[in-house]
Amino acid sequence: MTSPATVEPRKTALNLTHRRMGAKMVNFGGWDMPVEYSGIIAEHNAVRSAAGLFDVSHMGEIELRGPAALQLVQRVTCNDASRLVPGQAQYSGLMTSAGTFVDDLLVHKISDTHYFLCVNAGNQDGDYAHICRHNTFGAQTENTGARYSLLAVQGPRAKSILQRFTPVPLDPIRYYHFTFGAVDGVDCMIARTGYTGEDGFEIYFAPEHSEKLWQNLLEAGKTEGLIPCGLGARNTLRLEAGMALYGHEIDDTTTVWEANLGWICKTDKGDFLGHDALLKQKAEGLHRILVGLEMTDRMIARDAYPVFHDGKQVGRVTSGSPAPFLMKNIAMAYVPLELRSPGTPLQIGIRNQQAPARVVAVPFYKRQK
């Protein structure tokens, strides 16, 4: 076994740009990525109040083609892709036969014979192998991550900034829909999706155009408050918005029911990987469930800290952080079902202390529409 530290990290097309612009870099999922530019708090609040630009080209893409493409999507994911119309995307889960998560993903329907999946960077190769293993339908599969850069423009000003670069009317693109068109003269897939809890767009395009799009968007967006953002702010934004992160809230030991993601699981769509296991768990009842927590003193809960109730450990924090917009310290954790109600007092084990917290509703933050 080679330890991850000795493996050369992978780089997006903007790697040198990030370094030249002074971003702080970290290894994330085997990728050398910007974690922050001007600071997580400033970047986070820019996205809530104006706009932020993220290089998320580390995300993986997998494309399924042919008459059997839908059958394969339906077999390996838990949401119902047959409900999609061309130009529509859905959040879904890539399932094990036990009904746990291989990954979470976005399924984009480009046409009846072409589905475009966006998956987590660190899971891409595993996801692709998993999909191929279950491709008994003869669908054409392709691992196309290296063919795309992905930029996310997020925040209330995202639409007006991006609109200046494209003849495609952005307003009619509804949330979780996408279209194709030129952005600054570059062919793009333009999707109204994101991972921040704000309005925004994610644009997919050939990597050689990355530098031009990155610089031109930043330059033009400056007057509207657009700033470059790193994965640090991306994480605090998604946590405030109550969105799951693979390896934290969900993994191959957790199910959609436990993770409060029942809305992406359509057991009535027909058989799929994990279908029976998920029905069984639903019938037998859950033992634990994901809840939101708010710290009630100044202490900060962090990933993997133990959760206590009446002196007994009852779970673990999956993600915990200061929430820069809410100015609170928040967390998500798995707890026994009977402790799920908002208001329930719990304690977080932080360095030999038990810091008080209480269960709160998720999402912590919801934008005004």
Partner: protein, 132 residues
């Protein structure tokens, strides 16, 4: 940037000796690596620490970092202003954001720490590693 009358540790604390007491904080390099500091936990006056023992915790939005006592010492004063204004650590790490004042039990230990030139060479080497 790095005051010449301070001494520095490999864990990025600074210490400044004035008579029988010394002041301790974290360096500019440390605050920059941490990012926005949002929480500081400091010991009580009277607490004793061996050289290299953790005396407190600094948390940024993304990271938790322990702070180590550069020399064996007893705490005589704590900068309680940091509890409500932890961001001072980002703004003035070598001045207003001092963390504790201590009475070293063996002042000679300070001589074993890096001076400003040695510390700057040390962090320059670290920078090179991270960009390799």
């Amino acid at each position: 940037m790095y005051p010449s009358d301070y001494r520095y540790t490999k864990d990025h604390e600074w210490i400044k000796l004035e008579g029988a007491t010394a002041t301790v904080g974290i360096t500019h390099y440390a605050q920059e690596a941490l990012g926005d500091v949002v929480f500081v936990e400091l010991p009580k006056v009277g607490a004793k620490f061996d050289a290299g023992a953790a005396f407190g915790t600094v948390e940024s939005v993304k990271a938790v970092s322990e702070v180590y006592c550069p020399v064996s010492a007893e705490v005589v004063e704590v900068n309680s202003a940091l509890a409500t204004a932890p961001e001072t650590i980002n703004k003035d790490p070598h001045g207003a954001a001092w963390m504790i004042k201590v009475r070293p039990s063996n002042a000679k230990e300070i001589e074993g720490l890096m001076d400003a030139a040695a510390y700057q060479a040390f962090i320059a080497e670290k920078e090179k590693e991270s960009h390799a």
